[in-house]
């Protein structure tokens, strides 16, 4: 009963007044955002704005200084360890590096969450793993070891592993970075297809503007610990924030200067 009520809730992740700092550096300053169920939501921003940190806060791997993060109506930082782990079984995360266990084959990597969390027989696990690998197009690579895979293949295997337990949402950490055009196209297509076919919620953290804009339903743009802009891809394109426009178009100069703050150039060259 409770579950069906949850399923009706249109919001899957709710972040309220979140602040987080590392040492003296403030990464998030009182941000609030909400991730709708069943949609692809992108969180964009330049490197170092704490996009990955945000995913780790949602996954409960980091504790915020203040504010709350709720996943499926549960405040993730107030959960007991066992409850947190139960919730994490329903959340997949795709790390930038893939994070495959290097001592296990592709098959065993995908089978790992099934073996750890279910009591299925080995033949059922085999069928499930093959279904997941088929979905990412790598059934033929099942006996390879992670060091024999290309970066794009490793990410697809990690994606198969992330969907092994049929989670309610998947968090993608920079899924498009460092991919050749073919892998990139495959990944974009896969993320969209999986989201629609499996009824998932996807959160994509990325600074690859074009690819992200092409599949996201809603976008948050982060800058210096704040949300600099938000909206659908069309709304973001029309947003009259100079900063957001510079980021989206990739201009080398604008509100974010090409030069790191420094003293006067001539003075530095000739007067010292």
């Amino acid at each position: 009963m409770d579950n069906s009520v949850n399923n009706l809730d249109p919001e899957i992740v709710s972040i309220k007044n979140l602040s987080f700092s590392r040492g003296d550096r403030q990464i998030f300053n009182n941000i609030s955002l909400s991730i709708p169920r069943g949609k692809i939501t992108a969180i964009m921003g330049p490197s170092g704005t704490g996009k990955t940190t945000l995913l780790k806060l949602i996954g409960g791997q980091l504790q915020p200084d203040s504010g709350s993060v709720s996943v499926d109506k549960k405040n993730i930082h107030h959960l007991k360890r066992s409850d947190l782990y139960t919730l994490r079984k329903r959340m997949g995360m795709l790390f930038q590096s893939g994070a495959l266990l290097t001592d296990l084959s592709v098959f065993d990597n995908v089978a790992l969450p099934l073996r750890e969390h279910t009591t299925l027989t080995e033949s059922m696990i085999r069928s499930l793993v093959l279904i997941k690998l088929q979905a990412v197009g790598l059934r033929g690579a099942q006996s390879l070891m992670p060091n024999e895979l290309s970066g794009g293949m490793a990410r697809r295997v990690a994606l198969a592993r992330a969907i092994a337990l049929d989670p309610m949402m998947i968090m993608y950490d920079e899924p498009f970075t460092g991919q050749d055009p073919i892998s990139l196209g495959t990944l974009v297509k896969l993320i969209k297809e999986l989201n629609n076919a499996l009824g998932l919620t996807s959160i994509i953290v990325s600074h690859d503007v074009e690819e992200t804009m092409s599949i996201a339903n809603y976008i948050y743009v982060l800058s210096e610990g704040k949300i600099a802009g938000q909206g659908t891809p069309e709304q973001i394109k029309k947003l009259d924030s100079e900063w957001v426009q510079q980021f989206m178009k990739g201009d080398s100069d604008g509100p974010v200067h090409f030069h790191y703050p420094a003293s006067d150039y001539h003075k530095d060259l000739f007067e010292s």
């Binding site: 780790k56 996954g59 791997q61 782990y85 139960t86 994490r88 079984k89 959340m91 997949g92 995360m93 790390f95 930038q96 590096s97 994070a99 495959l100 266990l101 290097t102 790992l112 969450p113 750890e116 969390h117 990690a158 592993r161 337990l165």
Partner: protein
């Protein structure tokens, strides 16, 4: 001066914090051990990489240490016409001290450093984070089997080291220098006490195994996840293990053989 005090305070605080973290880590690992016993395949794999792969270095080192003991012992003992007691001298040195201590130092260098580097790299490549996000506790799945494997392997390797060392002493003393074969073994049999020498030696190696596994796994787990961080952690494992082994050895020897 103020700067000096500040640094001193900082480093004291951070070492206490590290001690606290490592204690929590140890408690967490020990509570996860029962799960490992139920999954012998994970343990067997680690026993192979931690224990069996250390076999060669332990055997060869044991042989040479025994041979050197035989040689040095013979020259000193023959000055007193007591070369017949070579067997007991070689065996006592080995089972009481050299066996546990040298094999522990070698084990820290061979297996401890490998464990730290492995865990540190798993952290750097987000494998540990990835497991946590899959709701798999890395302490249960990764750390505990390695800890138990180190704990089990160390006494066995140490016993192997001592046994091979005794054979090495025999090769040099009896085979080359002409000590009587019967005396070598019978003096050893008469001079060594099972409780005082052999059991105490085994206790030492168990304690060293525990310490090395703890240090090496914690250093890996606590490493800064960069290549420099992992390299520093690996160095710290070898250095800290060596200090800990030698320090513990003194304390244990004092408790076992001394009247302190």
């Amino acid at each position: 001066m103020i700067q000096f005090l500040q640094n001193l305070g900082n480093s004291t605080l951070s070492s206490f914090a590290k001690l606290g973290r490592s204690s929590f880590f140890l408690i967490h690992t020990l509570t996860a051990i029962s799960g490992v016993i139920l999954r012998p395949r994970l343990l067997l794999k680690q026993l192979f990489s931690v224990g069996v792969l250390s076999f060669l270095i332990i055997t060869i080192s044991g042989l040479f240490v025994g041979m050197v003991l035989g040689l040095q012992g013979f020259y000193i003992l023959s000055d007193f016409g007591a070369e017949e007691t070579l067997g007991v001298m070689v065996a006592a040195s080995l089972v009481r001290e050299l066996g546990p201590v040298v094999s522990a130092l070698l084990f820290a260098g061979r297996a401890g450093s490998a464990l730290t580097a492995e865990i540190g790299l798993m952290k750097a490549t987000e494998q540990l984070s990835g497991m946590e996000m899959m709701a798999i506790d890395p302490i249960k799945r990764i750390i505990a089997p390695r800890f138990l494997a180190g704990f089990i392997s160390m006494p066995l390797l140490s016993a192997l080291f001592s046994s091979i060392g005794v054979m090495g002493g025999h090769i040099v003393g009896v085979g080359i220098l002409g000590v009587d074969d019967g005396s070598y073994w019978s003096q050893m049999q008469a001079g060594l006490d099972f409780q005082d020498d052999i059991i105490n030696g085994i206790i030492k190696s168990i304690v060293f195994g525990f310490a090395i596994s703890w240090i090496s796994l914690f250093e890996g787990y606590d490493a800064i996840p960069t290549s420099e961080g992992v390299s520093r952690a690996t160095t710290r494992t070898v250095v800290n293990s060596a200090f800990t082994i030698l320090g513990l050895d003194f304390i244990l020897t004092a408790l076992m053989f001394g009247d302190i």
